[in-house]
Amino acid sequence: LSQHHPAQQASASSSSSDTANGQLERRAEASYASFNERFQVTQQRLFERQYSHIYFDRLHALKPIVLKRAQDRWTKPAAGLPAPSFVNQLVHLEIGRRCFAVGTLYKEMTLKPSILKEIAEERDLVPQPPRARYTSDDDFIVLEDSSGRVRLGGNFPSSELVTGDVVAVLGTEQSGGEFVVEEWLMAGPAPQPALDTASRMRGDELDPHVAIVSGLELGKSDQDPLALELLSEFLCGNLGGELNKDLAASVVRVVVAGNSLFNQKELEEASKPKYMARNAVSLGLQTTQQLDSILSNIASTCPVDVMSGPLDPTNHILPQQPLHRCLFPRAYALQTFQTVPNPYHVAVDGVHIMGTSGQPIDDMIKFQIGDDRLALLEHTLQGRHLAPTAPDTLACFPLNADPFILESSPHVYFAANQPEFATSVLKGEDGQSVRLVLIPTFSTTQTIVLLNLVTLECTPVCFRTIP
């Protein structure tokens, strides 16, 4: 994109003066298909169920895939060593025998928040400091299947992995009961639907784009109101010169990826002791009306998908259900507006776009020593699972089946509400190519991301006002 349009950075300083021109004359269009059904929770008597089913289903679904890879890789006899055998149930591991097995990882971490500890501490009035990271020297990792557990050791990058990952390990159980790992692998990226580039070309017009914005956080006290105004104007095609307008016109869909609202009071309440939280405080109507107004403006010129995020007034646990229509009386009057669940999966012009409002990455980072969020995003693709740490440290519905398993790899895969923009491309063994994107939080970065549907390149667009 940047080659064609060096001026696409719609900077407020250069273009805020130039907002006089009228509406877009015409907006690019694109085909659209939704795959969100599996994230919609409709089951009854849900909460009588427990979480074990999710793990069971996950292992059941991913084990054959991981096993296939493991067999391909490890059953060729290596020099001097007999081919290792596969042990189907962990309980049948034998001490001293080199073999491989598949199971779910569980990381034992003493610093992981524990409600039991909190209750004990509440009674002692010693508050538990909130922790950004859960890692400590006492951590260890076990592999588990429905038959039992084994502690893992050896050449095992426990810091890269998280609870809930399904992995295959090759190694030998020691007499101490520890399984010393030589090699390990995960399922690898799922197969990817074919992509027909030609159908997305628009001749001499600009390539079509999808705009992804996250973290509008309306209601937050230290907002930059102008940035939001600029964003809205830009998407409606009212901002800047022709180039900007052309660019705006090429946006075939706007994805608002969670955290559109920010409930200051609720967050304050959450930090108070429980007995003080008399009644949950709801967001003022004014803020939701403001959001409704902004989104209906945008939707009147361009299709808008609004995802739910951790700060939004919908259920908290994953998969998050779409925001209720009663919050958007104006926007919902438009055909072009809809609310969608989180995680989110659609195909625009045949390009599969999948993403979350960021919870899986925000949770997984707590298991890491480093700060590489893109690597985590890639990790979830490698593990074919959107949110491996759910349900352990990431809240989710106690469903019968695991909704987060990736049966196919998307072409574009994003995590929203992240501290800053970043992007990379993951190349799979079977020719998959996935564009990974971290969508920054708008309220702190004033930045959105434009995704080129032809090249799958991503460009951050900043609406910061220069003081």
Binding site: T110, K117, G176, L327
Partner: protein
Amino acid sequence: SAAAGAATGSANKPPALAHKGSSSTGGGSFESELAAFDEEEFAENRVENIENVYVDPTQLNSAALSEAVTIGGGGGGGSGAWLRRPVPSLSPATDALIFQQLEIDTYMGEHLAGMPGADASRVPILRMYGVTEAGNSVMCHVHGFLPYFYAPAAGLTEDLLPGFMRVLNQNLQQQQRVARDNLSEVVLSVELVMKESIMYFHNNRKLPFVRITLALPTYVTAARKILERGLDVPNLGFRAFETYETNIEYVLRFMIDTKVTGCSWIELPAGKWQLRTHQGSEENHDAFGKKGKGSSLFSNTYGDSAGGSGKTGLAAAVAGALAVSRTSHCQIEVDVAWDAFISHGAEGEWSKIAPIRILSFDIECAGRKGIFPEPEVDPVIQIANMVSINGDNSKPFVRNVFTLGTCANIVGSDVIACATEHELLRKWADFFRVVDADIVTGYNVINFDLGYLLNRAATLKVASFPFLGRIRGVKTTVRFATFSSKAYGTRENKVITMEGRCPFDVLQILQRDYKLRSYTLNAVSALFLGEQKEDVHYSHISELQNGNEQTRRRLAVYCLKDAYLPLRLLGKLMCVVNYMEMARVTGVPFSYLLSRGQQIKVVSQLFRKVREQNLVIPFVESGGSGDTQYEGATVIEPNRGYYENPIATLDFASLYPSIMMAHNLCYTTLVNPGMSNRPSEADCTKTPTGHIFVKPNLRRGVLPEILEDLLEARKRAKNDLKKETDKFKRAVLDGRQLALKISANSVYGFTGATVGKLPCLEISSSVTGFGRDMIKQTQEAVEKQYTIANGYQHDARVIYGDTDSVMVEFGVPDTHTAMKLGTEAAALISAQFIKPIKLEFEKVYFPYLLINKKRYAGLYWTNPDKYDKMDTKGIETVRRDNCPLVKNLIGTCLQKLLIERDKEGAVQFAKDTISDLLCNRIDISQLVITKALSKTADDDDDGEGDGGKKSGGGGAGKKKAYAVKQAHAELAERMRKRDAGSAPTLGDRVPYVIIRAAKNARAYEKSEDPLYVLEHNLPLDTAYYLENQLSKPLLRIFEPILGSRAQTLLDGDHTRTIAVATPTTGGLSKFTVRSIRCVGCKVPLARNEDAVCSNCKPREAQLFQQEIAGLHALEMKFSRLWTECQRCQGSLHEEVICTSCDCPIFYMRRKVQKDLSDQHEIVRRFDSW
């Protein structure tokens, strides 16, 4: 462990799934912990290699061993580790044999040639069991010690003795036993000795006594009775005699006379002992008690227990002094004369402890639904075992589980799968003998597990099973014993005989040493080890057993954990070391400490001391009336209030012992009012109660001497403790100084125990009399000295005094000055008292909340710059009969008052909590009251742990009329009607809450199962909780602070808002139709409206958001609670089946399920969401 569970008094004593719950450090599941044991062993380079193991073929039946050695292998130490180390070669002529004895018993046997004592076919022989420093088990026969006692000569002279002896003998010959015992003489000797009775001061004059020696200890009582009744002594006439020292057990008599104390080291010097090498012939020797047919020369005959039928072995007759066959499973078996060995006092080198084997085990039984397992019917399905060496960090080196049916492999533990229950029991008994533990422990194993196993084995006719002791051919039996003690209350216990092994049940220890809310293994682990423990309802146990090898494995892991936790508790609480030191200090055998009361310890010490001084102790018929009262300790009336100045506490160190020492109070110094030539007043002390004792210049009392020795020894131990750096040795020393302190304090109690061996109220009432005077004297001295008139800043005031301490308000604002004044005052006042009475300054309380007599709270400072802790006495933080809310509320209020010094905050917190209570915002687990379901009404409070004993007649349906209607008993009955299967049975703990009911309903009718309340949304009687649970404790702590304003806590504005849940069952709910109402205004909705009515429609977004916010909170709670349990159980792929109602999150977990479902439904009603 269905059975084991109820046995410990909880409906569901957890089959041990305990994982590290709350405060685990680095531990995941118990399984990882198990596995880690293997790792360590590997690193330690396992010594036990099967080839090197010395196999004593007599130790076990050989089939058992070969089988034993071939099983296992998957960790758990392997069966190779079962055996003890090989015995080094021993030569009695040149080697001394040294071992630590742990247990001493006695049996009747034939006189062994070359040994002292009567040459008869039936003589008493003692057996000492112990362990050498190298870890070999030893059994030592001690020969020739004869029972004896004294009687005043009362006219008997040397020349009259033969006649006296003959008459006494004749009288005794009439005893039926004599014929059976085949005794020619019962009285072996009578001699005149000069002794002095311990009772009263006699100007130190000794009087002639006869010392009567008998053939067997069993005749002592008979002889006593004959003498008391009187007998016709030739040339003297009819005489009745008092007797002395007739009530001391034979074993204890032996220990006293040979200076053997409990757990002391015994040295058999070279040349003084004989080694039994003869194994007995294998084919005829049958370890399991089928008696030899008499054809074998070496058939085992020594194994008869003391009460057994008297069979005379041919062995001794034939083999003479050469060889007698071994009778025990111990590795080394020897003979020694009673006066030929050395007993080392526990000082210096000899305070070490041998490597003692401790076996902990736990069984699981598959009960039927709703019925407490009965050994006649319900099978034993698993037995888990852990064996550790004392002092070895309590890490078990043998870990295994015997299972009925296959069981998948468990890393770190051997799984010994058995096809039949018969095989399971047989193999386990073999294991038990091979592993040869010195101490057998577990949780409630004495009262439940062992008895169950023995009965089960009898039912299944497992002939080899009931031989669990160290003596071959002696069956392990169970009998009931009622133990009654002032200190410990009355408990009915089972006594399991296991010759040579000490039963050491952790539950019994805890019940003795700790006052707890609950004694379930679960609660105890949470308290002492900081772990929550998964708890599986026993209805699940049969399910798991009937599943596959995986489900049985899951059960086995629980079972292993239940065997492991008692070991950890022993280690953490230092039980073995402390009890051993107590045995050494007081001189009683180790096993007495759990099976006997406090008195025996003083008796042992008294007899030891008395023997040195040629004193004798009269026999006193015990069981006298216990109603003699004397004035107890005094208290200076508390001046109630909240003190914001430091309060200095002056304590008399070891008050009662030091009074006895200072004033020479003793049996031997008490002047009998009827005494003819009384000593002069100058040589006497008249006590505040008017009794007269002589001063030490005339006679030093025995009790003061005992006390001096104890306190001197304690001082030494404390000094050594300061110097010692080795952790284990420190523990031993600390255990010793504690034991010494307890012992010193129990001497006073002994003299005051009217139902005792030697009560002497003159002593005990004088002691308390002195105590009272001293407290008053201290008060006067302080208030006289520390006055403004004497140049101090304030007039000091004693605000409270109790037993041995006085609380002084010096009026100074800072801890530094208060401590300085306190130290000064202590020294000043100490000078006024006779040595060794000493007033010490230890601590200040600042601030201090004095509620009433024996009820106070304060911050405890020993260092002027930083407080040590919060100290509370007699406040509802420990009471067992209230709900956790009370404890938590009071605890928090005290924290706010004392630590944060925030009175308003404390008041606000109390108000908020009350408001939360009335508005139904308190978690139900905070309101659960728990009581044990027992047969008798008065048994419930302390009976929590001993449900097992009632198992025999227990079970559903069998229910006696309750003397008083009790809330929990009524509830159990109601639950039984609802579902017999899940209702609590006798011995179970019944958790209940009080619900709102009809106006005149009695309290016991308002109890309800918390789970039922959750399911049906029954309203709780919050007013009951406020009035009956919270109000008194709250007023108590707030009245000193708020005065009359305190009442507003209970009826202020915050109590105006009340919320009541709408029940979904019972009462009016049958007649009401629940219509769908508007979320906003509660107006019934029309058919086409989902969540809100047309009036509220404009507010829909806001209402929706409100409901969503509620949903958020519940969702997070749900997720966190259920993942916590998933983690705690140590498996992600299996459902949580824990039903531990002791766990703080159990009810929360159930409640959030329901609340979240309801909330979810409300949110879903909003159109098309």
